[in-house]
C-alpha cells in the first residue's frame, strides 16, 4: 500500500474532526497529530490489526448505534464514590459530584488552561507507547480529545472516583483523554462504566510513582451496537502497583489496548479482562491487545484474559511480555482462555514472550474449550437446572480474572453484572 493511498482515510477522518484550541496541551496535540500523520491509520495488512478490522473506527463518521435500554440499576450505583458523568462525551455538571475529595486534585481537560503537572504529562505515555508498535487511534485521541479528567493523587482518597459514560445519541462519537498521576505512596481506585457513545475513543494515561497503588475496574456497558477503541498507558515506578480489570459484555467492536512499563524495581502490574459476547443479538468482536515491558529488577506482571463466546462471537487476544536487558528476576505470567458455547464462535490468540534477560520466570498459556460436560452433569445431578448450572460454570471459568479485583464490594458488583448478563443470554 502506498503512502498516498494510506493518507486518504486519515485525511477524511481528520477532516471530520475539530482539534480543540487553547493553550493547554496544544503542543502535545500538535505533536500527536504529527505522529498520527506519519504512521497513518491501520490498514488491512497491518499485522497488529490482522484479526480486527479497523474500518469502522477509522471512518469519518460512526456507524449509528442505539443505546441499550434497561431498567437494571447501573453498575457501581450502590457504592460510595465521586461521580463524574459524561453524556455522549459531554461533561454533565448536574449529574456529577463536586470535584472535592481529600488527597486528590481533579480538573477537566477542557477547563485546564495551564496545569503544571499535566502540561508535560498529557500525551507523554501515549507517545512512549508508540514504540515498538504503532497505535494510531491513541495518537488520534491525544490530538483530538475534547475532554477528560486530569487527576493528581497526593494521598489516599476515602472513596473511588467513578467516570460514568452515558450513551444517548445514536450518532455520538466521543473522544476522551484522562491523565492520572499518583504521587509517591498515594492510592486511588478508579471506576469506569458505560458505553459512552455510538463510537468511543478513549485514552487513559497513568503514572504510578514510588510505592503508589492504582486500582482500576471498568465495565464497558451493555450496548449491543456500540464500537470502542480504548488505550491504557501506564508507567509503574519502584514498588508501585497497577491493577486493572475490565468487564466487557456486548459490543459490535471493542479493541482494548493496554501498554504498561514496569520502570522501577519491584513494580507490580496486573491486567485482567472478562468479555462475554452473544452474536444472536448483534455481532460481537472483542479484542484485548496487551503489551507489558519489564525494564527494572524483580518486576511482577500478570495478564489474565477470559472470553465467553456464543452464536458466532469472536474473541481476539494479543498479549506480549517484553523483558528488557537487565530486567532480572522478572516474574511474568500470561493466560488467555476462551470458552466457546457453540461451534460458531471463534477465538484467535497470539501470546508472545520476548526476553533479553537470563534470570527471569515467564510463562504463558492459551486455551480454547467448551463447557465441561462432566461438571455440567455433576451440577444437574444435584438438582441445579441446566441453565443455572451453565451460568455457574461460566462464573467458574471467569473466576481467575474476577479474582484480580481486590475489593470485595467491587468484585460483587462485577459478579452481579455477569449474572444479569448470563440470565439475559440463556440458551
Amino acid at each position: 500500500m502506498s503512502a498516498v493511498e494510506k493518507a486518504t482515510p486519515l485525511d477524511t477522518r481528520l477532516g471530520a474532526l475539530e482539534i480543540p484550541a487553547g493553550s493547554f496541551a496544544a503542543k502535545a496535540r500538535r505533536a500527536a497529530l504529527d505522529r498520527l500523520t506519519a504512521m497513518g491509520l491501520p490498514g488491512r495488512r497491518d499485522e497488529y490489526w490482522r484479526w480486527t478490522r479497523a474500518d469502522a473506527l477509522s471512518a469519518a463518521d460512526p456507524v449509528p448505534a442505539a443505546p441499550f435500554v434497561t431498567d437494571e440499576v447501573p453498575v457501581f450505583d450502590g457504592l460510595d464514590r465521586l461521580k463524574i458523568v459524561f453524556r455522549d462525551g459531554v461533561f454533565d455538571a448536574a449529574a456529577s459530584d463536586p470535584f472535592a475529595l481529600e488527597g486528590i486534585e481533579i480538573t477537566r481537560l477542557a477547563e485546564a488552561p495551564e496545569l503544571g503537572w499535566a502540561a508535560g504529562f498529557y500525551g507523554s505515555l501515549e507517545e512512549a507507547g508508540q514504540t515498538p508498535v504503532k497505535r494510531p487511534f491513541a495518537a488520534l485521541n491525544t490530538a483530538a480529545a475534547t475532554d477528560g479528567v486530569l487527576i493528581r493523587v497526593t494521598g489516599r482518597p476515602s472513596k473511588p472516583v467513578n467516570l460514568i459514560y452515558i450513551h444517548e445519541s445514536d450518532v455520538s462519537d466521543p473522544i476522551l483523554h484522562h491523565c492520572v498521576k499518583l504521587e509517591p505512596g498515594a492510592e486511588l481506585t478508579l471506576l469506569e462504566n458505560g458505553p459512552a457513545g455510538a463510537r468511543f475513543n478513549k485514552v487513559l494515561e497513568v503514572e504510578v510513582a514510588e510505592g503508589a497503588r492504582f486500582h482500576h475496574v471498568r465495565a464497558q456497558g451493555r450496548d449491543h451496537e456500540r464500537r470502542a477503541v480504548t488505550h491504557i498507558f501506564a508507567r509503574v515506578a519502584e514498588r508501585g502497583l497497577f491493577k486493572s480489570f475490565t468487564l466487557t459484555v456486548n459490543g459490535v467492536l471493542t479493541r482494548n489496548e493496554c501498554v504498561i512499563t514496569l520502570a522501577g524495581d519491584d513494580a507490580v502490574a496486573h491486567v485482567a479482562g472478562a468479555a462475554l459476547g452473544d452474536g444472536a443479538h448483534a455481532d460481537f468482536h472483542h479484542d484485548d491487545t496487551v503489551f507489558i515491558t519489564h525494564d527494572a529488577l524483580n518486576g511482577e506482571s500478570r495478564q489474565v484474559f477470559k472470553k465467553v463466546l456464543k452464536h458466532g462471537a469472536i474473541g481476539v487476544f494479543q498479549g506480549k511480555i517484553l523483558v528488557k536487558p537487565g530486567a532480572q528476576k522478572t516474574d511474568g505470567y500470561q493466560i488467555s482462555q476462551a470458552l466457546l458455547m457453540d461451534d460458531d464462535s471463534q477465538f484467535l490468540g497470539k501470546p508472545e514472550l520476548e526476553i533479553y534477560a537470563d534470570d527471569v520466570k515467564c510463562s504463558h498459556g492459551s486455551t480454547t474449550g467448551a463447557l465441561d460436560e462432566t461438571a455440567l452433569f455433576y451440577l444437574r445431578s444435584r438438582g441445579v437446572p441446566v441453565e443455572e448450572a451453565k451460568a455457574l460454570l461460566v462464573l467458574s471459568f471467569l473466576a481467575d480474572a474476577i479474582d484480580e479485583i481486590e475489593d470485595a464490594a467491587l468484585k460483587d458488583e462485577i459478579v452481579a453484572r455477569l449474572e444479569a448478563w448470563l440470565a439475559r443470554h440463556r440458551g
Binding site: 461438571a375 455433576y378 451440577l379 437446572p385
Partner: protein, 256 residues
C-alpha cells in the same frame, strides 16, 4: 422404591451394548449392594439412572416411587429424590462449596414447591451436618472439590447427600481411593442417613465397604445383567473366592 425392569442400554456413539436386561427392585428403606467385576456395567447403571448423556436406553424402565426416571432431565430426577454419589467427584474452580450446596438445595426446594432456605437457615443446617462428617469451615469455603484429598471429596459427596435428603441414594464405588479411616467416616455418614425410609444402592468392587454399610441384599452384576442375588453372605463368598466361579457358573467369560 426403585424398580428397574428389563433395562437395556447402549453407548450413544458406538454400537456397544452395556446393559442387557437389568432387573432390580430396591424396596423403601433397604440397602442393596451391587458387586461385580470391572466392565460389568455397574457404573453405567448409576449414570443411566441419574441421566448422564452418552447412553441410549433401548428398552426397559426405571421407576422411582412410581415415576419414570428415564424420561426426566437429570435435575428433575434429583428433585424426585434420586442422588448419585460420584466415584470421581468433579472439581469446580471458582465456585465456593457453600454456594454450590445452597444453589443445589434451593433449586430442589423450588422444584418441589417448597420455600427456599435463607442464608442463615442454610448455614445453620450445613454447619451441623458438616460437623458430623468432620468437614471443617475452611473446606466449605473452598471451591468445590478443588484441592480436596480423596477422602475429603467423598465426605463432601456424603455432605451433599445429607443436605439434599434424597429418598434413593446411589453410591458409585464410594470406597475407591479411601483409606480405612476415611472409609469408616464415609460409612458412618451414610449409616446416619439410614432411617428406614431412605433406600440405598451401594456399588462396589469389594466387600470391605459392606462391613461398614451393612446391606440387606447383595447382587452380583456381570456382562450387563444381575446374575445372582442373595443376602450379605454373598459378599463374603465373593471376597473369599473372587468372581471367577460365579461367572463360570453363569457361562460368562471372565472380564479382562
Amino acid at each position: 422404591m426403585l424398580e428397574i425392569k428389563n433395562l437395556h442400554v447402549k453407548l450413544e456413539e458406538q454400537d456397544k451394548v452395556i446393559l442387557k436386561g437389568v432387573n432390580l427392585t430396591v424396596e423403601t428403606g433397604k440397602v442393596h449392594a451391587i458387586m461385580g467385576p470391572n466392565g460389568s456395567g455397574k457404573s453405567t447403571l448409576s449414570y443411566v439412572l441419574s441421566g448422564r448423556d452418552g447412553y441410549e436406553v433401548t428398552d426397559g424402565s426405571a421407576l422411582l416411587d412410581g415415576e419414570e426416571l428415564l424420561e426426566m432431565e437429570p435435575e428433575a430426577r434429583a428433585a424426585a429424590g434420586l442422588f448419585l454419589a460420584f466415584q470421581y467427584p468433579v472439581e469446580i474452580p471458582g465456585v465456593g462449596n457453600m454456594t454450590f450446596l445452597r444453589t443445589a438445595v434451593n433449586a430442589q426446594r423450588k422444584a418441589r414447591g417448597q420455600e427456599e432456605l435463607s442464608a442463615g437457615e442454610f448455614l445453620k443446617v450445613v454447619r451441623e451436618k458438616a460437623k458430623t462428617l468432620k468437614i471443617d469451615a475452611e473446606m466449605l469455603k473452598r471451591p468445590v472439590n478443588v484441592g480436596f484429598s480423596g477422602g475429603e471429596k467423598k465426605r463432601n459427596e456424603i455432605l451433599q447427600m445429607a443436605m439434599l435428603e434424597p429418598t434413593m441414594c446411589i453410591l458409585d464405588e464410594t470406597d475407591s481411593g479411601l483409606d480405612v479411616d476415611a472409609m469408616r467416616l464415609v460409612a458412618d455418614g451414610v449409616n446416619a442417613l439410614r432411617d428406614g425410609k431412605r433406600s440405598f444402592l451401594v456399588i462396589t468392587h469389594y466387600q470391605r465397604l459392606l462391613d461398614h454399610i451393612k446391606p440387606d441384599v447383595v447382587h452380583i452384576m456381570a456382562d450387563g445383567r444381575i446374575i445372582q442375588t442373595g443376602g450379605p453372605e454373598l459378599a463374603l463368598v465373593v471376597e473369599q473366592n473372587g468372581y471367577a466361579e460365579i461367572l463360570k457358573a453363569h457361562g460368562i467369560a471372565e472380564a479382562v
